[in-house]
Symmetry: C2
Subunit: 714 residues, 2 copies
């Protein structure tokens, strides 16, 4: 649905613009020039109050004067004039708009009110629009460019969605110099109507877009983002930069597009859950997106490195390994084929290092074919292909010996056809990235880039781009996202909540909290709530020693700090003694929880948090005393599928703890995952709950047990 | 000393080269051409077996035929001919050499033997040399370039030391296009004689070098590196990339320059101890090195961001904050000065975001001055300065409206003098980095770069470059490195070691280990070694309950896994019972350690490791059951100064644990630091020790206590 209205918006047959004139240095004029000069084939109507012609085209004083209702209206005029024109277009029947004009939500309350009026008006006339405060869009398929920057180069296969106009428009020259080309690119501005999720959905279905890159300052609807992205990422890579996670980054975004920044760790969890690859820099966004958009899919993580210089070879190997790739040592058979092609003693075990070699074809064709066809690697990173760039660099010296020979003679003379060289990854079905210190000044760089092979200006960048393919493979290969539904709310659990609500409690007491969790199959210790010493004795005998005694009162937090918890009680006398000590420490009669002592040195946590923007999220990580010091916790939006839970368990930094560890048995991961899945559905069944905190969730042998629990109510 | 011989090597008055000819495509010729064409003012003598002239200069058949003993000989000939020529130069009295020739240690045993012969010969004639298997050097001060690539551009202030020739030579074009210039650069190759430490020492004293960048595959003598770097880094920044830390990176380095790779975490510790800034990519090495070499010193971490685009502004803010900077909100007074210069509603609180602005001077001059002179920031990151680059980009469209006007007219017309603009950081004494998507095609980029202001091609890179200045400030500001010496070896401690050696023990038993550590002031629990139940009772009564009982035998490891440790014993009966259980579990009579029970939920570790390359190192981090799962351990070369110990304690990821934490008191950091310092000196006093492992080192309240200890002997 979104996709279909965006298809109309991005493929108009006729366009009108308000704000273009004959002054070449005005923004509106520059937007109009891009439409005229970059090949738009439809009708184009400038609206101008006084001029008869604008940019050589007949100009019209008002939308009502146009010979037809244009499919798309573009607004580049001061915000105070916007609404009038916008309404006129609505009246004549225009259904799509791009509002370049700024001065809305991003400037504060007055702007936000104006933005609301704009939205209301669009709704009134059934119009959809991009912006305000945006830079327009590019659709190479339709030869449409509504930004201020001329398009250069051929269409590509990278789709771009940006909350910064710069990354769609002002970077065009940067991208062209690097051979990176968009299929479609949309600057979404304040997202008063169309937002990045709509565009993501559209590009997810766009046959000309092989990968989607996103620059993000906020995701206004994380849940819809998740649903949309999850459908796309199994078949098309999505890569994203999010910059709102720091205090200063968030503040900057707010004044930029009125973006409300969210917590970095929640974005991390959202991206992982959605199968979106997160990057930290716009360079990486473009570079990795470029590799993902152009290269054949990778089928494993074995990388072959071919280089003519040891330093870059080592750096590529180091960076690949740090990013999930392996560099297998080539078989004797493969090495024996490569060796005769190399200088004596040059290493050919992977990296293949030709050292300073002058016969480029050996490296870029023969050896690349041998390695790609060996069956021993899944991808290749190449460093050092160069010809004319090198020649130009050394010519000032070498010309000394070449009297009468011009640089152009030399460059033309080396004009080996490089199209076969540059198509190696596609011919062999093995993805490749190239590292070169020579830019498009060099014939190799140009040939590779024009054939769709990314050439990065640093070995580590080429390695990271290759690693992105491996990272995407893991996403593509994720098992299905199995949501199994929970039955209806458990009546006993519902009763526990109702009782607490009636008592005006802000949280369940520990006993009630664990009883509640037990209703949903979360393992808790065998325990009893007792009110006197006799009760303690009966309970302890029933449960079996050793036992733990804890004060149990919803008003008492931080029990262990106040001597209200006694552990490892071995016999009846000790139990009675502890009971009295607890009453004494509490300073008033308090109920006491007598529980089976759960022993285990591995303390985890699991919980539910509620975030203003993200809603209910699930947390899992290392609990116990180290919780805050380690901050080794991972998050997902609730509810979880089983796959989500398994990924959470696998991705905590200290995941080693959950395996065979120091003589302890591996954690029961399927039970852990089931606990997280069940936990994640509780807020749906009991909307009164805003927070659940199980900490510690102790591994007793293999088995997780919720030893302490907090359930907070609205 | 090193510095003085390298000064001679790098400033020769006369040079001979073996391996140059009149064939322009031979390596030797290209090296020679660089010497001739890049301005070397001294005498230059080609050696050639048959030619009378080489490159227009008189050629000589052998060193003996030269009119003088050249100061420097350069060898670019097959390795089998090398020694003969090398010896001839030795005989005539040449004292310095550069051996470009490869085929030595990096190719295996035969090459290593040849390399040894080369070293022996150099020693025989008192010669010092760089290489073999290197790419030569650049000394801009002496107009000397012995690499294959022509030098371009003016001399700079970044010194480069590289174990890859590529990063000194083949990147010259890359660097020039980015405006980065070396003062001196040395490719060290296999380091048979001169190594990176020698060059570091030299560049540390070089007045033309403001910062040193190092590309490292191995540091052959970490201890000397530490001593040398520690002297330099308080007054000159040193920045390093190390790529040997992964399996594949290490393998690649070995076949490249015969480098033995070392453990990543030891390099991390070494760099921190030495005050060297570590980076992960060669791009960052150049980019940050550039900022460090050119910008005035920064005096705090408050960064002002000035931009004409919100996206880059947010990204700069986010990256700065993630790298230790703060972006203060500007005072009302400063904002009131900036506001009138900006479009209405444009944010000026920091970032200052002019939005798409055409009046560059307001941004790059007026606002930069206001912010720099405000006293509210210590550094500035600027994005979006552009003029001719932008013009060139939009000209294909705009020319539509400018009939008869050529691009060159337009570009020349905008020729505002930018020298005042580009000197702002120097005039105001406030460092600045610039982010621009326009390269030197743009007049602003060119002006900034030529004035020594780094222009990076991505906002995050400009932010990281600025953050490097802040990072270096911390290094510059480190307190003095106070080594306090330990007295002589403690006689009682020596006796413990001697007894164990006599008994042929490979390790001290736990009782002895703690007695030993106690000799050096390391706190251990009150404990007794007992041999029967009566002894247990006497000891426990003496120490006071609760106590711990442990089997104590150097042959028993992993005590806790075998029921050989009983904790929290509350009375005499329980103690006797535990004693018998331990004997039973051991299956034979074993001595038992009765110790005061130390309670504390914070478990650390401290220790000494011995690495083949690094020698004795000190480890500190999170101990207990989580040790391996967290791997939150930091290292330094032993012995430590107090500053080293304090830095170790501050830099563990979970350092929060050591403060006021969950109601627990802060750790006694000065005692912790003293423990690490004392520990670090033990291997010097007792060279028989190869490993000490104190784990857990429990915080009992604030006080660290060595609850378990292992001392391993050679």
């Amino acid at each position: 649905m979104s996709a279909s209205f965006l298809h109309s918006l991005m493929n108009p047959k006729s366009i009108a613009i308000v704000g273009a004139s004959n002054n070449p240095m005005k923004m509106g004029t520059m937007h109009a020039l891009s439409i005229i000069k970059d090949g738009f084939k439809g009708k184009f109507y400038p609206i101008h109050p006084s001029e008869k012609t604008v940019l050589g085209l007949e100009a019209f004083a008002a939308p009502e004067d146009l010979p037809e209702a244009p499919d798309l209206a573009i607004f580049v005029l001061p915000s105070k004039y916007l609404l009038g024109f916008f309404e006129s277009f609505g009246r004549v029947g225009t259904k799509s708009a791009i509002v370049i004009t700024a001065g809305f939500k991003e400037i504060g309350v007055d702007g936000a009110a104006l933005e609301q009026q704009l939205k209301d008006m669009a709704a009134k006339y059934g119009m959809r629009f991009i912006g305000p405060n945006c830079m327009g869009l590019v659709n190479r398929e339709a030869d449409l460019n509504t930004t201020v920057m001329p398009l250069i180069g051929k269409p590509g296969h990278l789709g771009m969605i940006s909350q910064s106009g710069t990354y769609v428009a002002q970077t065009i020259v940067y991208l062209q110099k690097r051979g990176i080309h968009f299929s479609k690119a949309v600057s979404v501005g304040n997202e008063a109507d169309v937002n990045i999720i709509d565009v993501l959905e559209y590009l997810g279905e766009d046959p000309h877009t092989n990968a989607v890159a996103m620059y993000i300052e906020t995701i206004r609807d994380p849940r819809r983002f998740l649903e949309v992205a999850k459908k796309i990422t199994p078949r098309k890579p999505v890569i994203a930069q999010y910059v709102g996670g720091s205090e200063a980054g968030g503040r900057a975004g707010l004044s930029h597009t009125g973006a409300m920044a969210g917590k970095n760790y929640l974005y991390d969890g959202l991206f992982r859950q959605a199968g979106v690859i997160r990057v930290d820099t716009v360079e990486d966004l473009y570079a990795r997106g470029w590799a993902l958009a152009t290269q054949p899919p990778i089928h494993g993580n074995r990388i072959g490195i071919i280089t003519n210089s040891g330093g870059p070879g080592s750096a590529i190997a180091d960076t690949c390994e740090a990013n999930g790739c392996v560099m297998p040592i080539f078989s004797a058979s493969l090495q024996s084929k490569i060796k005769p092609l190399m200088p004596p003693h040059a290493p050919c075990g992977n990296p293949v290092d030709l050292t300073f070699s002058m016969d480029m074809g050996i490296m870029t064709d023969t050896i690349v074919d041998l390695v790609m066809q060996s069956g021993e690697v899944d991808g290749v990173v190449l460093h050092g292909a160069m010809s004319t760039g090198f020649m130009k660099a050394v010519f000032p010296h070498v010309s000394h010996l070449l009297p009468g020979i011009a640089l152009s003679d030399l460059v033309n003379q080396t004009g080996r056809q490089l199209s076969a060289t540059a198509s190696k990854p596609f011919d062999n079905g093995i993805p490749m990235t190239v590292s070169s210190f020579f830019d498009r000044d060099d014939a190799y760089t140009e040939a590779y880039e024009d054939a769709g092979v990314p050439v990065l200006d640093a070995p580590e960048k080429a390695a990271r781009a290759m690693a992105s393919l491996v990272q995407y493979k893991k996403i593509r290969d994720r098992g299905p996202d199995t949501h199994f539904s929970l039955a209806d709310a458990d009546p006993f659990a519902a009763q526990i909540i109702d009782d607490a609500v009636i008592n005006a409690q802000s949280a369940l007491d520990e006993y009630a909290a664990k009883k509640f969790l037990a209703c949903y199959g979360i393992p808790v210790p065998d325990e009893r709530l007792v009110h006197d010493a006799d009760g303690v004795v009966a309970a302890a005998n029933d449960i079996g020693f050793p036992v733990v005694l804890k004060a149990c009162d919803p008003d008492i937090l931080h029990k262990s700090d106040q001597n209200l918890v006694h552990v490892n009680i071995m016999d009846v006398d000790a139990a009675i003694h502890s009971y009295h000590l607890i009453q004494e420490a509490a300073g008033r009669p308090v109920p006491v929880l007598a529980a089976k002592m759960i022993s285990g040195r591995r303390e985890l946590l699991a919980g539910i948090t509620c975030d203003a923007q993200f809603g209910h999220c699930v947390a899992f990580g290392i609990g116990g005393v180290l919780t805050e010091a380690l901050n080794d916790i991972t998050y997902r939006l609730a509810p979880l599928g089983l796959r989500d839970a398994e990924e959470m368990i696998a991705e905590v930094r200290s995941a080693k703890l959950l395996g065979h560890y120091r003589g302890m048995p591996p954690a029961d991961v399927s039970l852990l995952a089931a606990i997280l899945v069940r936990l994640s559905k509780i807020p749906l069944l009991h909307p009164q709950i805003i927070e659940i905190d199980i900490n510690p969730l102790i591994l007793s042998g293999s088995q997780p047990v919720a030893v302490d629990a907090l359930v907070v109510l609205k």
